[in-house]
């Protein structure tokens, strides 16, 4: 009984959804590649690559801080284009424009000390 109601509800929901226009594509804010904007973006890498791009003790993941910018750019490009094997970076790299990647890479290349 309950299953039938659930199925009916699902069908109705599906029908309602089908009648709605496709959602408009996102209106993302223009990327902020000022020093502060880039630093903000770069903090998102910390949960896997370490605070400030410096991995914590015991972590085996690649450090980002101090790494030459071109190396980071090349790696991100290869991830983005699916040319380099990854567990997760191919999915994350697709969230960033080339300009953002270049700015983040330059930011980490210039970092030498722990935060």
């Amino acid at each position: 009984m309950r299953t039938r109601f659930a199925m009916l509800a699902a069908t109705l929901a599906g029908a309602a959804f089908a009648q709605q226009p496709a959602p408009p594509s996102p209106a993302f804010a223009a990327s902020n590649v000022t020093p502060k904007g880039v630093a903000s973006m770069a903090t998102a890498c910390a949960m896997c690559h370490g605070s400030g791009g410096m991995p914590a003790a015991g972590s085996t993941v690649a450090p980002l801080a101090g790494r030459p910018a071109q190396g980071t750019v090349d790696a991100m490009k290869a991830f983005k284009e699916g040319k380099r094997d990854a567990t997760i970076m191919h999915q994350i790299a697709k969230g960033y424009s080339d300009a953002e990647i270049a700015a983040i890479a330059a930011y980490f290349a210039a970092r030498k000390e722990a935060p």
Binding site: A6, S31, G37, S40, A46, G50
Partner: protein, 422 residues
């Protein structure tokens, strides 16, 4: 020197020259530029406190947290599986204290927006210029009438806030004889950590497989299907725990028979030897006056995390009304903490906050002692709808569980804990 300190030397050199303010008085320290009080030392609050202090040492930062140490919800299911100890998921607040964050061991009971004070359970009220609330979730016990008292809550555990309940649930599992039934009741989404219940089922099943092979896990899910990484979890259950996990969707708990140790569903009761009930959740109690969505969650400006209900009050983490496709996760709370900290520091210094924040969510689930799988997404600010949205084409899940991702899970924990607490 960090990016922000350089600009703040220009913006507020005099205040910066005044040095660190660690004064324990009720009013903001005389020479501090401003006082920011952070409520809650979890993934969101501790991160916000750390980043505000790092970005502008001239701001007096006070973190109010009742617990002596940080206990991570992520990885806490491995304590139930017997693969991690409580010590493995516990980290001190000393790193924040070394940076000059004053950690006050107390419970914030109310925010007086007019007088700009945080009221505490034991200590004197704390004055603030801006307050950041990251109180996590509290439980809607009213949804399970028999659970509305301390005795019932001490017997039928949630273990959905890592800490004493995690250790207590592990003890219940250890005491359960082989052949017993563990029942986990999952509330309707949204709740803290969408994949958490399904990971917990894996961890408990791993323990049973090794030590109590005649036992069984019954997952009673109020939702119509697994709410996160569904196909991946179902494959892991089939490949690793065949016959050990029974999944029942559309099984919403309406009450609990505490003495009879059973979950009451609409049409039948499900008896357990170990009963683990996750009640429906809402914003943490101290944030209740700022709830604006569905009587459960707090809405904010996604550029500053300032509450839509009160100026000068910032809210982050699991208490938030989520943006589309944004989970309530430790990863998101850590990300909120950083965007919020940068915005608060900008506002204190009379600058404009970043108008284009980009954040990443990455949640790993450990499906055995060593195998994991992930879900990830990249979120950017949508100007038109004033919310965060997942970037089309980005993000995704693992093709399947792997040991490599198990290693990355441990890296994730070490690094996010350092980013939150060091």
């Amino acid at each position: 020197m960090s990016f922000a300190r350089r600009s703040f030397l220009k913006a507020g050199g005099a205040a910066l020259a005044a040095g660190l303010a660690g004064c324990a008085s009720m009013a903001p320290a005389a020479k501090a530029k401003a006082r920011v009080v952070v409520i809650g030392g979890g993934y969101g609050g501790a991160t916000a406190a750390r980043y505000v202090k790092m970005l502008d040492p001239a701001i007096d930062v006070v973190l109010v947290e009742p617990n002596d140490a940080f206990v991570s919800c992520p990885l806490s299911n491995m304590v139930l599986g017997g693969f991690k100890s409580m010590a493995d998921i516990t980290r001190p607040y000393t790193g924040l204290e070394r940076r000059g964050v004053r950690v006050v061991r107390d419970m914030a009971t109310a925010i007086d927006v007019e007088r700009k004070q945080v009221r505490l359970e034991r200590g004197d009220a704390l004055a603030f210029d801006r307050v950041i609330l990251s109180p996590g979730v509290d439980f809607m016990w009213e949804a399970l009438p028999a659970m509305g008292n301390a005795a019932a809550q001490g017997e039928v555990l949630h273990a959905w806030k890592a800490g004493p309940q995690t250790a207590a649930l592990r003890r219940q599992l250890e005491a359960m004889p082989d052949g017993g039934i563990y029942v986990l009741s999952v509330p309707e989404a949204p709740y803290r950590c969408p994949p958490g219940p399904y990971e917990r089922a894996c961890q408990v099943a791993a323990y049973f497989k090794a030590r109590k092979p005649r036992s069984k896990v019954i997952l009673l899910d109020a939702n119509g299907d697994v709410t996160s990484k569904g196909p991946l979890f179902k494959r892991a259950w089939a490949d690793l725990y065949q016959g050990l996990i029974e999944y029942r969707p559309n099984s919403k708990a309406v009450d609990v028979d505490v003495r009879g140790r059973a979950v009451k569903l609409e049409f039948d009761d499900v008896k357990a030897d170990v009963l683990n009930v996750l009640p429906p959740m809402k914003a943490g109690n101290v944030a209740a006056p700022f709830i604006t969505a569905n009587k459960r969650w707090c809405e904010v400006d996604w550029l500053t995390y300032e509450s839509k209900a009160a100026k000068g009050v910032h809210i982050l983490g699991d208490s938030l009304q989520i943006a589309p496709a944004m989970p309530k996760s430790g990863s998101m709370a850590n990300a909120h903490g950083k965007v919020c900290a940068m915005a608060v520091v900008a506002l204190v210094n009379g600058e404009a906050p970043n108008a284009a924040p980009t954040i990443i969510n990455t949640c790993y689930s450990m499906v055995s002692d060593k195998h994991a799988m992930h879900v990830t997404s990249v979120h950017k600010y949508d100007e038109r709808d004033r919310t965060m949205k997942a970037v089309p084409g980005s993000g995704g899940v693992s093709p399947g569980m792997s040991e490599l991702e198990g290693t990355y899970t441990m890296n994730w924990a070490a690094n996010i804990w350092a980013d939150t607490l060091s």
